[in-house]
């Protein structure tokens, strides 16, 4: 096959793959009458922000956007702290149950978290009886589960980064009089930062995209819904406000898209690590 034939074919495929996203953004900017027209066209002469306004005011999308951000950011911050400490313990120290813990970490990573909705639902219900913030209908419950789901992989991935920091560095720091605590946060932490970036993006995306747990836990507190749920609320049989739905989808996709572009090199190089957003 001639190279230009292949290239044209590849470009056509790229266009087809990107088309749904193009259509989403285009529809978000189309005026309402063009969206419900029986002859949709792949352009618009009258771009408008009406759909975004509707999504943000009528459906209160701004609130859900903030909720999603709050959950994802807290999950990322906590998972960085906890996984960094755990990864350090698992690489820098020798203790008896180390190997057992590593294997357990690997096994736990393989459990389909979706199967745990029933027990987690009841767990959150009883947690809510004593600490309401972490109970059902509160964002805290989502933070807890996503933290738990993101930790095994984060620890697993950070282990490699911590191990790559030479032991001599720690000895040198100790000789210079740095305490263990200072070494940990002022020397080791900055050095494993690249690993932290990659794991945080994955934790962020998992928390951001979650639909199942948000749907299970946030039952009646409408004000505590997250974006995926809110978007689902828009979808009503036979009377969908497609303009607002596409505007909402655009708002929801853009943060993830930015993150993905930022870390794509790391994602590609971590291939066998089996990573997906």
């Amino acid at each position: 096959m001639r190279r230009w034939v292949t290239e044209v074919f590849v470009l056509v495929v790229a266009a087809v793959v990107a088309f749904p996203l193009f259509w989403m953004v285009l529809s978000a900017f189309k005026p309402e009458d063009e969206i419900i027209s029986a002859d949709p066209v792949p352009w618009t002469t009258r771009p408008t922000l009406d759909s975004f306004t509707r999504a943000l005011t009528v459906a209160n999308f701004g609130r859900y956007f903030v909720n999603s951000i709050v959950v994802a950011v807290i999950v990322v911050a906590l998972s960085i702290l906890i996984s960094f400490l755990a990864a350090t313990a698992l690489t820098r120290f020798r203790f008896r149950s180390r190997t057992t813990l590593l294997i357990m970490l690997l096994v736990v990573q393989m459990v389909p978290v979706e199967a745990l909705t029933v027990p987690l639902f009841f767990l959150m219900r009883s947690v809510g009886d004593s600490v309401p913030v972490f109970g059902l209908n509160h964002l805290g419950s989502l933070v807890l589960v996503h933290l738990a789901f993101s930790l095994p992989f984060a620890i697993w991935m950070l282990r490699g980064f911590v191990a790559a920091v030479p032991l001599e560095l720690e000895e040198a720091a100790t000789l210079d009089g740095a305490s263990r605590f200072r070494f940990l946060w002022q020397v080791l932490f900055p050095l494993v930062a690249p690993g932290l970036v990659a794991t945080s993006v994955l934790s962020f995306i998992h928390a951001w995209n979650d639909f199942l747990f948000a749907k299970t836990f946030i039952i009646s507190a409408v004000e505590n819904q997250t974006l995926p749920l809110a978007l689902q609320v828009f979808v009503k049989p036979d009377q969908n406000d497609w303009g607002a739905i596409m505007a909402g989808s655009t708002l929801m996709t853009i943060p993830v898209l930015i993150f993905f572009v930022l870390v794509q090199r790391r994602l590609v190089s971590g291939l066998a690590g089996a990573v997906k957003g």
Binding site: A18, L85, P119, N240, S269
Partner: protein
């Protein structure tokens, strides 16, 4: 530091992680199995009726239920179609990507990155809109306005499968592309010098070298596609008309949270976990063989 001191510091560092993982993963797994052994419905939850231990009763009910077998079959078939589709598209495009100039490849990868990063809920709604009976672009282009893709069982499954393939082929493509690129040029040159045809080189040199990676992406895809939830739930509105588009994951959710049969829902969860752990064992062995070390 003494060995004992090391151990103590290590556990201090590990304590937060162990607390979270123990409380929110290990304990729920134990609870999942426990709940699956009880008759656990709305009345038991509200305290209106005493808990009755059923032993394997829920599992018996499940195995004797024709719908469970239908759903299981659908799950396997749906996952199979998604996995095969994802691998074929991903592998084909990975090969093509090695034969084009950089800017063309970057364009393809950028488009794939977009599909990959779209949140499942957003991706599902976009596809629903594109295939909408009255306002969708696809129906207009095909000239079949008014045709509902989600009404018929098989077109609905097909549409969801296409969406799943759309957002999962990029992983396969990028991984395989990296794998092909990692094959040293000398190996392929040697094959060419020995007079091997392009097809022969691909079949007898490239493919065997890529086998570990292919195995890993295959099993990873099986694990993902076996537990698709969001796409089915959003695109078929909770499992289709009369539940005919259910897969195991959505079925478990519906049994537990729509029908308040928590015990039964938990039992389905256990079945799913066991099936997936079986696949995972293969995954671990494949990883080990491809050179990953503990």
């Amino acid at each position: 530091m003494t060995a004992k001191g090391q151990g103590r510091t290590a556990f201090a560092y590990l304590a937060p992680a162990l607390l979270v993982l123990g409380g929110l993963l290990a304990y729920p797994i134990y609870q999942l199995v426990l709940i699956s052994l009880y008759d656990y419905g709305q009345e038991q939850v509200s305290g209106g009726a005493p808990l009755t231990f059923l032993g394997l009763g829920n599992y018996q009910a499940l195995l004797g239920d024709r719908q469970f077998w239908t759903v299981l079959g659908q799950t396997v078939a749906f996952a199979a179609v998604c996995v095969v589709g994802t691998l074929l598209v991903g592998a084909f495009l990975a090969i093509l990507a090695t034969r084009v100039r950089t800017w063309v490849r970057m364009t393809l990868f950028l488009a794939a990155l977009g599909a990959w990063s779209t949140p499942a809920v957003a991706g599902s709604t976009i596809w629903l809109f594109l295939f909408d009976a009255n306002f969708g672009l696809v129906n207009e282009v095909l000239g079949i306005q008014g045709f509902s893709w989600t009404y018929d069982k098989w077109t609905a499954f097909g549409l969801v499968a296409a969406q799943v393939i759309w957002c999962s082929f990029p992983f396969v493509m990028v991984t395989l592309y990296a794998g092909i690129k990692a094959i040293p040029g000398e190996v392929l040159e040697a094959a060419a010098l020995d007079g091997a045809s392009a097809f022969r080189t691909a079949w007898s040199v490239t493919l065997p070298l890529l086998r570990p990676i292919i195995l890993v992406v295959t099993i990873q895809s099986i694990i993902w596609d076996f537990k698709v939830f969001t796409q089915i739930y959003v695109m078929t509105n909770g499992g289709g008309i009369a539940g005919r588009n259910l897969v195991l994951n959505v079925y478990a959710y519906q049994q537990a949270f729509a029908a308040s049969e928590y015990g039964l829902g938990a039992a389905i969860g256990v079945v799913m976990t066991v099936l997936l752990l079986g696949i995972t064992m293969f995954y671990l062995r494949a990883l080990r063989r491809s050179g990953e070390v503990l």
